[in-house]
Symmetry: C2
Subunit: 482 residues, 2 copies
């Protein structure tokens, strides 16, 4: 127990420093450096136990060589920040060390999950919050559930007879959607070729409904069955929102399942100011929504919500006698395990429930509004700034701000292959220097025919305007001589 | 920060009490009771924030109405116990709050995972520990990976073209295997009908190789392609080990993938005394092994290990540009994300790595030997005891001890339908009383034609002989008047 308190001491020091801007975001080392062993820190496992003193050193060093994802200047991922209530919730969860599959061993957590999912469904706008859902290990798995449930709804025989017993089924998703839809297509036996990618509009961000309809018709003409459309609410790179209402019209017309992947953008439902961007979401058959992204809940916390009750259970249940005994003394409809593709399931609900209690719905709204204001601040600051070029025109819909930094050496150059090639190398070089110096972190990527650009995202509640200013200046400082 | 320390105070008190045998294992309430709200504890979420004092009360009450899975008398699940080093590791993991998909944001954890998986492969017996692997959110998902990878190895075109483009593929698994193999068959598009269940031997526990071969031949005669055999190392209910070597012979003969589901029994590989029960595992193509079960690591911690390198990546990769940039400054082969069906992946490695450091390989061996000794103690104590009947003959291979408690009222009665019906109700009644009184917890279930029986399992490092004695006496006390 003394040991545990000493670890707590290490952890609270770490948390304090994380919020201190004079602390580095990371102390970068290459894999071979860490593998060779830093002074006193050796990753190898051995036959014999180590002393508790060494274990404490190991804990300190693990944090030392890691990345401070809660640092106000960490912008590298959609999940960032370190909420203290959420952290406390996660510590409690670890201490309770239980499993979501039955009410029997997780009574309080099972009920919290049920109530929270209902609340989320109400916010989506399904009548009386009716429906079903489950927390899953991340948005990719939540999206996978949506495809499974859609298949079960239209072709329940696929569960028993497999995909060879049903017509060739086709899934539609935007070229900018998350890669997990394609992964689901591959894993679940549809095949990636049967995941049809939809074109985007003139700003290169949103699905064009006419393109969707043309592709539906084309698939039908080939004798395939259009099964499922994924509309993204907040794409990963651009933060764009597909036009859900128009897509819903087509899903109704062609009798297809509508899934909304709101892993990233779902949080905006909590904001009266921004929720209009997901207008039509109440017409979806299923929704992915990750509180661990825009709502600042510690990893992992992702929900798949399904409008029709019973489908998750029907799709996945196998009635294992050793877990789901029908003759228990309590109402066994509270046992959730047979809705899942998992058996044991981590308790992801408590930290989220506790944060909701502590912040109120209103607290999440404020957090989201603040992040979006910060991204507006960033956008306005760089849109006409020398050396910055925006990747797409117009204000960002989410906190994603995508831009190129153009070093002075490239500024006069006309748009040609050489400029493109050189610009392509700028973001990786700046990012590498950023990581070496440890001052901040932001992501970059190419997209389609666009060369490497920075994607700034803000979900960190610790970030302020000064951190945005710092990022811009740091990019200029590191990139000016490239 | 003060708040966090107050939560720590609540948690350390909870841990202390958990190890105190005078504390109840649980304080049972029905769902409707908790939903209606206990004094001062209300699960409903609201618009406005609550005070930090109330949040602390919520934390206390959440633990109060939960189940102490670390209590020395909690035997209800394959995962039990509360290891303090593991707990500290999980608290550190929550504080680091990062994600396994790239080396960039989880450098230390990614390397720990790599080294630990290699160590596990060495222990399995694959040459030089070569191969691949990943930690996944539980044994069911690990088993699902094995089926996906097997399909990719033999029919890589299924990834792009789907299951309708490949022959009818058949999976084989024992009738006593975990239900996740069937779930995988349903989810991945094989269909449950194509998951062929294998018969068990005269003790009703292990797969009969001759039955497997007959079924392989039958499937081939029908024009199906036998793809995959799952051999269970430690079945969920009986704790039986399938004969891996004989199954491996058949897999070689018929060119099939051999998976060993060692979610429960894999831990025995750490024991020089018991690892012979998994003899032949080095011939497997893939292995599921859950340190969160027999090795006492906190939930969740499950590994899927694959003998051939490159398959996990080939099977699952989609090369998302925003995460897996090829032009990073470090060796990007350390980015693990494209091996997974998940995108974000929880850090499950650190607690395990830290426990291994603190206990040494030898510490896990001692823990496992001790649990198996305790189950032998239980078996010897009840096998001839009045009122107890063993479900299968012979010593248990794992810590599973399966038995009926026969109350005095049924003891004279000949084996007839009435006795069976009444005996079927005994375990649920005793279990209900156990939970109401909160003194201990053990699972029960029917299996095949066997009416409800208790399944005792021991993985809890806090359990001693006195707790086994207590369990037996408690069952007798609660059951004597039934």
């Amino acid at each position: 127990m003394q040991f545990l308190l000493e670890v707590v001491d290490i952890l609270t020091n770490y948390v304090r420093k994380t919020f201190d801007r004079s602390t580095k975001v990371l102390d970068f080392h290459h894999p071979h450096q860490l593998l060779e062993g830093m002074e006193g820190f050796n990753l190898e496992l051995s036959e014999q136990p180590e002393s508790l003193e060494q274990i404490l050193v190991d804990c300190r060093d693990t944090l030392k060589y890691g990345v401070r994802t809660g640092h106000p200047r960490f912008f590298n991922q959609l999940s960032s920040g370190l909420d203290i209530i959420g952290l406390a919730g996660e510590w409690l969860t670890s201490t309770a060390n239980t499993n979501m599959f039955t009410y029997e061993i997780a009574p309080v957590f099972v009920l919290m999950e049920q109530l929270t999912l209902k609340k989320m469904r109400e916010i989506i706008g399904w009548p009386n919050g009716e429906g079903d859902g489950i927390f899953s290990p991340g948005g990719a798995i939540s999206n996978m559930y949506s495809v499974m449930v859609a298949r079960y709804k239209y072709f329940p025989e696929a569960k028993t007879k497999g995909m060879s017993a049903v017509p060739r089924l086709v899934l539609f998703t935007s070229e900018h959607s998350h890669y997990s839809i394609k992964k689901s297509g591959a894993a679940l036996g549809f095949g990636v070729e049967n995941v049809i990618l939809l074109k985007s509009d003139e700003r290169c961000v949103k699905v064009i409904p006419a393109d969707l309809e043309a592709k539906i018709i084309e698939a039908k003409q080939k004798g395939y069955v259009p099964l499922f459309v994924n509309a993204t609410a907040g794409t990963t790179v651009y933060g764009a929102f597909d036009p859900i209402d128009e897509i819903a019209d087509l899903c109704e017309k062609y009798n297809m399942w509508l899934h909304v992947d709101g892993a990233w953008g779902g949080g905006l439902l909590m904001s009266r100011k921004h929720r209009h961007k997901l207008s039509g979401i109440e017409r979806a058959n299923s929704v992915t929504w990750n509180p661990h992204k825009m709502m600042g809940v510690p990893l992992q916390c992702s929900a798949i919500l399904v409008r029709e009750k019973g489908l998750l259970q029907g799709c996945n249940q196998m009635c294992a006698g050793y877990l789901f005994q029908p003759d228990k003394q309590y109402d066994v409809t509270y046992d959730t395990g047979d809705k899942a593709i998992q058996c044991g399931r981590h308790v992801d609900i408590f930290k989220f429930w506790l944060m909701w209690k502590a912040k109120g719905t209103i607290g999440f709204e404020q957090h989201i509004n603040k992040c979006l204001e910060l991204s507006e601040y960033l956008y306005n600051k760089i849109k006409d700034r020398e050396g910055f070029e925006m990747v797409f025109r117009g204000e960002p819909q989410h906190t994603n701000v995508c831009f190129w930094y153009v070093p002075p050496s490239l500024r006069g150059m006309p748009d040609c292959e050489e400029r493109r090639e050189r610009l392509h190398k700028v973001a990786p070089k700046i990012k590498a220097m950023m990581m070496e110096s440890g001052t901040t972190m932001v992501g970059y990527q190419p997209q389609g025919d666009k060369v490497n650009f920075f994607r700034m995202v803000i979900s960190n509640q610790a970030a302020t305007k000064s951190d945005i200013d710092f990022l811009i200046e740091e990019i200029e400082r590191l990139g000016q001589d490239l």
